[in-house]
C-alpha cells in the first residue's frame, strides 16, 4: 500500500486531519502529538490492512537549541504488506513524555530505554525504564544539544576536547 | 619393586643391619620414579597435545627458530619453558577463599593419582608394588581424586568453581559405575584382580593369527572396552565430557582461581589420570605388555615398549576426541551414562557369562 492509502485508512478511523503530512521534514512522514500517537499505535499494529508488525527503529531527536523541542521518530514496517511508515512525535523539552509502545512491539523496550538514556524522554507505561548504555548513576542526557560535558566522573578527571580539532 | 629393593638391600651388609632404613629407602626408591614419570608424562603429553592439535588444525604449533631464548627446534622445550613459568609464577590465594582447603585440594587430587601409579605394571616385573587386587586398588584411588576437585571448587569461593565442582562430582561419581561394571567382564574371564594374571590370561592366539586379547575375545568384551574407554574419558574430564572446566561456559570451572604451582598439580594429575585410564584399558583389553604378534618381539624391554605404545595410542585417541568433538550438556551427559552405558555394561556382564558357558 502506498503512503496516501495508509493516511487514508488512518484518517478514516480517527477523523480527517488527524495525520498531517509534513512536507518540510520528509514526504512520507506523519507528524503527531504524543496523545495521538498513544491512540494510533495499537491501531497500526492490529488493523489487518495496515499490520505494521515490525518496528524498525526508534530515534530520539533534539530539534536544536532554539526550537525547545524534543522528538521521537518511529520507523514502522509491515512484513506482510511490505509497506513503511514514519511517525514523528515532537514534544516540548520542559515536559518530555510519550506513551510507551513497549508492549505492542517488544523491540521498543530497548529502543525506548536508549532514547530515555540519551534524551531523557519519559515513556509512560514502560515497565522497565532504566538507563541502558550509560552507567545508572550518570547525570544528564548526553545527546541533547544543550548537554554540558561533566568535568569529573567519580573523581576521574575527564579530558576536554583539544582546541582546534574539527 | 619394593620387594625387589628389600631383597637387594638384604645382601648389602651395612643396610641389612637396619631394616627400618632399608624399608624407607626401598619405598622411596620405588616411589621416586613414579613422581618423575608423572612429571615426564605430563611434559611429553602436553607437547604431544600441542603438536597434535596444531596438525589437526592446519597449524604448526610451537616452533623454535635459531638458538638462544627460543624453545628449541620444533618447540621441543616449550613445555619446559611452561613448567619454569608455572613454578616461578606468583602464588595467589583469593582473599575470600578458604585458605586451608584451598591449599590442600591440589595435593589430594595429585596424591590420589600418584598412589594409583603404585600398582601400575609396565611389564611383568616393573611395578612399584605388586598387589593381588591391583585393579581394584587403582579404581578406588581414582575415586579419591574427586574429593580434591570438590574441595578446590568449594574453597575458591567462586561461583564458576562451585558449578564446575558440582558438575565434576556428579559426572565422576556417575561414570565410575559403568566404568567399573564394564571391567567386570574381563575379571570374570580372567578370574583375578591382579594385573599379572589378567595379562597372563591374554597370551596366545585366537582365530589362528590374532592375539588372544580380551577385546577380541568375544563381542561383549569388545563393547565393554568401548564403554570403559568412553567412561574413562568422562572420568578424566576431557572433551566431549569436559563440562567441569568448560572454558566457554564456566571460565575454567573448578580451577578458575588456581594459578602457578598449585594449578600445575591439577595439570599433572589430569595427564596422569589420562595415562591411568589408557593404561588400565590396554592392560585389561589390549594385552598390556604382550606383543601384538604372538610369539615375536617379546621380552621385558619389548614389553615396556608395547605397553607404552598401546597407552600412547589410546592417549592419542583421547586427544583426537578433544580436537574434533563439541561438548555435551550436563543432562545429556547424565542421560548417556544412566540410560545407555549402565544398561549396556550390565548386558556385557551377562553376555560374557553366557558366552563363556555356552558358546565357547
Amino acid at each position: 500500500m502506498d503512503f496516501a492509502g495508509i493516511i487514508g485508512i488512518i484518517n478514516a478511523k480517527f477523523g480527517e486531519g488527524f495525520a498531517s503530512i509534513d512536507e518540510e521534514v520528509s514526504a512520507d512522514t506523519v507528524r503527531l502529538t504524543p496523545e495521538q500517537w498513544g491512540q494510533l499505535a495499537p491501531f497500526l499494529r492490529k488493523t489487518p490492512e495496515l499490520f505494521f508488525d515490525a518496528m524498525m527503529c526508534i530515534t530520539g531527536i533534539d530539534e536544536g537549541v532554539e526550537s525547545e523541542n524534543l522528538a521521537v521518530s518511529y520507523n514502522l514496517h509491515s512484513m506482510k504488506h511490505n509497506h513503511k511508515l514514519e511517525i514523528y512525535v515532537s514534544m516540548p523539552k520542559s515536559d518530555p513524555k510519550v506513551p510507551s509502545v513497549e508492549q505492542i512491539w517488544r523491540v521498543a523496550d530497548w529502543f525506548e530505554r536508549e532514547v530515555y538514556d540519551m534524551f531523557g524522554i519519559e515513556f509512560e507505561g514502560h515497565r522497565d525504564l532504566r538507563r541502558i548504555l550509560l552507567p545508572s548513576d550518570w547525570d544528564g542526557f548526553p545527546l541533547r544539544k544543550d548537554y554540558e560535558f561533566p568535568e569529573t566522573w567519580h573523581g576521574i578527571v575527564i579530558n576536554k576536547m583539544k582546541e582546534g580539532w574539527e | 619393586m619394593v620387594d625387589y629393593f628389600l631383597e637387594t638391600f638384604s645382601e648389602i651388609t651395612w643396610l641389612a643391619s637396619s631394616p627400618n632404613l632399608s624399608f624407607v629407602l626401598a619405598v622411596t626408591l620405588a616411589g621416586l620414579p613414579i613422581f618423575l614419570f608423572m612429571a615426564l608424562n605430563a611434559l611429553i603429553a602436553v607437547y604431544a597435545e600441542r603438536k597434535i592439535s596444531a596438525f589437526m588444525q592446519d597449524r604448526l604449533g610451537p616452533m623454535g627458530q635459531g638458538v638462544g631464548l627460543h624453545a628449541g627446534k620444533w618447540g621441543i622445550l616449550q613445555t619446559v619453558a611452561d613448567a619454569v613459568k608455572l613454578i616461578t609464577k606468583e602464588d595467589i590465594i583469593p582473599a575470600t577463599a578458604d585458605r586451608k582447603l584451598f591449599i590442600i585440594a591440589p595435593f589430594i587430587l595429585f596424591t590420589a593419582s600418584f598412589t594409583a601409579f603404585a600398582a601400575f605394571p609396565f611389564n611383568e616385573y616393573l611395578v612399584a608394588a605388586d598387589f593381588n587386587i591391583g585393579l581394584f586398588y587403582i579404581l578406588a584411588m581414582g575415586s579419591v581424586g574427586v574429593i580434591g576437585i570438590i574441595l578446590a571448587g568449594y574453597s575458591s569461593n567462586n561461583k564458576w568453581s562451585l558449578y564446575g565442582a558440582m558438575r565434576s562430582a556428579a559426572q565422576i561419581v556417575s561414570y565410575e559405575i559403568p566404568a567399573g561394571l564394564s571391567l567386570l567382564s574381563v575379571i570374570m574371564l580372567s578370574g583375578s584382580l591382579a594385573f599379572r594374571d589378567i595379562v597372563a590370561a591374554q597370551t596366545g592366539t585366537t582365530l589362528a593369527i590374532l592375539p588372544n586379547w580380551f577385546i577380541l575375545d568375544n563381542p561383549f568384551t569388545f563393547i565393554a572396552f568401548w564403554i570403559f574407554f568412553v567412561a574413562g574419558v568422562a572420568e578424566v574430564n576431557r572433551t566431549p565430557f569436559d563440562l567441569p572446566e568448560a572454558e566457554s561456559e564456566l571460565v575454567a570451572g573448578w580451577m578458575t582461581e588456581y594459578s602457578g604451582m598449585r594449578w600445575s598439580f591439577f595439570f599433572l594429575a589430569e595427564y596422569a589420570n589420562m595415562f591411568i585410564v589408557a593404561g588400565v584399558a590396554s592392560l585389561l583389553f589390549l594385552g598390556g605388555w604382550l606383543s601384538p604378534i604372538p610369539g615375536y618381539l617379546e621380552g621385558n624391554l619389548w614389553g615396556i615398549f608395547w605397553f607404552i605404545s598401546k597407552v600412547s595410542f589410546l592417549i592419542f585417541v583421547m586427544m583426537w576426541f578433544r580436537w574434533t568433538f563439541p561438548r555435551l550438556r550436563t543432562d545429556q551427559l547424565m542421560r548417556l551414562c544412566w540410560k545407555f552405558f549402565l544398561p549396556a555394561s550390565f548386558v556385557t556382564i551377562i553376555g560374557v557369562g553366557i558366552w563363556d558357558l555356552f558358546v565357547r
Binding site: - | P19, N20, L101, F136, A140, V144, I147, Y154, M166, V173
Partner: protein, 164 residues
Amino acid sequence: MSGQLIIFWIVTLVTVLSAATVVFSKNLIYSAVALLFTLLGVAGLYVFLWADFIAVTQILIYVGGILVLIIFGIMLTHRITSVRLSHSSMQRGIGGAIVLMIFVGLTSMIFRAPWYRVAAVEPQETVRQIGRLLMVDYLLPFEVASVLLLAALMGAALLSRKVN
C-alpha cells in the same frame, strides 16, 4: 621397632587425630575433610589385618561414594557452611560419668579377655574366598539385601521428586 610398626603408629595417629577433628571442628566442611583422613586411616588399619580387599572397598565406597555425597550435600544446602556448630551440652556431669564408665569397662575387658592368639600367617587370595562366600554360600541373603537397597533407592527417588 620395625618399619611396619612405625607405619602402624603413623596410621593410627592419623586415624585418631582426624577422628577427633571430625568431632571437635566447628566448621562442617572441615569435619568432612577430616573424615576423609579418618577413613583412609581405617583403610590402612585393615591392611595391617591382611584385609586388603576390605581396605580397598572401604576407600572405594566410603571415600569415593559416601563422603562425596556428604560434601555434596553440605555444598548444596543453603548457607549450611556458615552455621557455627556449638558443642555446649546440658548434661556434662552425667555424660562424663557414663563415658568414664564405658572407658573403664572397655579397657578392663581388653586387658582381661583371653585373646585367641595364633601365629601371623598371610592369608592368600582373600578376594576369591569373599567371592565364593557371597556368590555361593550366602547368595540368598546377598540377593535379599540388594532387593532391600533397591527398594530404598526407589523410595528416595520418589520422595525427592518435585510434585508439580
